[in-house]
């Protein structure tokens, strides 16, 4: 079944003009399937109708690379012994997918090895730190320092999951935008992406306002009106990157935050693609 109806969306031509690069694509976020790819591929296919309707150019997802970011011991062992499986999705959609590996700051030696294997040698562009559950650690922990130093050497991007939850953290490994700002101050040359802008974005934006090396990512919470307008006003459009959180969230929820915002078309282009493209440009070391 398909329909030609598309109320609420700009024209395909307008969307193509935005050149949308999605910094936060979350197919099979927690586990790619015991064979390393089946659930991941199915989830990407599930997202494809929305990806096509949105005219996305690129989507960046967060592969697991066998350093303890899932609770599945057999999978972790398998993916370490067969690292080529990690690339299956990227091989299937080579023009569409980008990747930033999930790191585990609880295991610094394994994470440093993974940085060499996947960032130094490619094709991954950066790292993702989880905000709770297996493999997560609050980003102010000293374990992050050697990892950030190495990521900086490799010109990688850091995506840190963040939330400000009313009533306090829901997980011991969670990080807040305020904690990310604290870390970012120690590494002023490194860029950090504050995923979800802290969820409660009014506090999140304020927490990173004076951290010029921190950008905010737009996905992961309801399409609450006024977010992008405040972020542009307080941070500038140059410090905002679009994320879709597809397929567990939606094109409607996430893209509407930007396309419906009362900001300039130039700012929309920055947020929807230009900023992320600039961020992941990696001069060859």
């Amino acid at each position: 079944m398909n329909s030609s109806l598309r109320p609420g969306l700009p024209s395909p031509e307008q969307l193509k003009e935005y050149r949308i690069w999605d910094s936060y694509f979350t197919p099979a976020y927690s586990h790619p399937g015991s064979d390393g790819s089946s659930t991941l591929v199915a989830d990407i296919e599930r997202a494809m109708p929305a990806v096509r309707k949105g005219e996305f150019e690129k989507l960046c997802y967060f592969p697991h690379v066998g350093i303890g970011t899932t609770s599945d011991v057999d999978f972790e062992k398998m993916i370490r012994s067969r690292p080529e499986v990690t690339l299956k999705a990227m091989e299937r959609w080579p023009k569409l997918l980008l990747g930033m590996i999930q790191l585990n700051a609880n295991d610094v030696p394994a994470s440093l090895d993974a940085l060499n294997r996947w960032l130094r040698d490619g094709p991954m562009l950066g790292v993702y730190f989880r905000g709770g559950g297996i493999g997560s650690l609050t980003c102010t922990h000293p374990n992050f320092h050697p990892l950030i130093e190495r990521i900086a050497e490799l010109n990688g991007v850091i995506m840190q999951h963040t939330w400000f939850v009313t009533g306090g953290k829901q997980s011991p490994g969670a990080s807040t935008p305020a904690e990310l700002a604290e870390v970012a101050a120690k590494f002023p040359e490194q860029k950090f992406i504050c995923a979800h802008a802290g969820g409660e974005w009014q506090r999140g934006i304020r927490a990173v306002q004076n951290s010029p090396n921190v950008l905010v990512e737009t996905s992961g919470f309801d399409a609450s009106a006024g977010f992008i307008e405040m972020a542009v006003r307080e941070l500038g459009a140059e410090r905002i990157v679009f994320g879709s959180h597809l397929p567990s969230r939606s094109l409607g929820t996430e893209l509407s935050k930007v396309i419906a915002a009362n900001i300039t078309e130039a700012d929309k282009r920055l947020i929807l693609g230009e900023n992320f493209r600039k961020l992941i440009q990696r001069p060859i070391a």
Binding site: M1, T166, A225, S250
Partner: protein, 292 residues
Amino acid sequence: MMNRRDVLNLAVAAGASAAICRSSAAADEDSSAANLRIVDTNVSLFHWPFRRLPLDEVELLVAKYRTLGINQAWAGTFEGVLHRDVASANQRLTDACVKYAELVPIGSVNPELPGWKEDLRGCHQKHSMPGIRLHPNYHGYTLDDPRFTQLLELATKAGLFVQIAATLEDTRTQHPQLQVPDVDLAPLADVVKRVLGARVQLLNFRPRGAAFEQLAKTTDVMFDTARVDGTDGIPKLVEALPNDRVLFGTHAPFLIPEAALIRVYESGRLDDSALQTVYASNADSMFWKNGI
């Protein structure tokens, strides 16, 4: 001169007739956006208590809805959430709605307040509203409270549908000094079964868990789309619920109206006929069944 009830009758009749025509011509290729009817069953007017919203002026909201092609909006009032002078809140709501053909006022009733039956009577007789909106979690009662059952009985007898806002805001982002848990919906199925003819719509509900499984079996309970997320969340809800029980709703202006508008079709799993059913036909049916 026509009164509001006449206007509503005409609007609903026109919408329903159009929907019937389109339904009978489902194979017709003419399915352009210009022919699509859209009814937003979940809008609120005036100011959200915790921050200004880009569309919290009625004029701006209506202008936006005209650009989006939304034909009708069932408008509650944010004032009905925390104000105790509910009668004046409902009066302001009616005064605002009467200026715009698209807006249908949905008044607030708080059975925790003395005189709530007068507020209910005002919604029905004074303002000719087709339904009312409840906020049990903000007003401090549960759905097994006998006053809720009585309210549902009286509203049903008056031909009013009843909207229950399961939540207004993600509990994780609420103001720390006003944390309000989602409404416990567990008692609802039993209450609705006891009130013959009751028409209940849940707003802002995320369909999951035991409460949803139970309510899915209760055919007189409708759902809206405002917080049904996931790229295929709305088609899955439509498939899970027989009898056309999913009504388009956005929770604007708190949420961006385009969000739900796009979510309905983005997965490509609903054909044009099914889209029209969600966007408007089910809402039109709810009007008719209440005898307005």
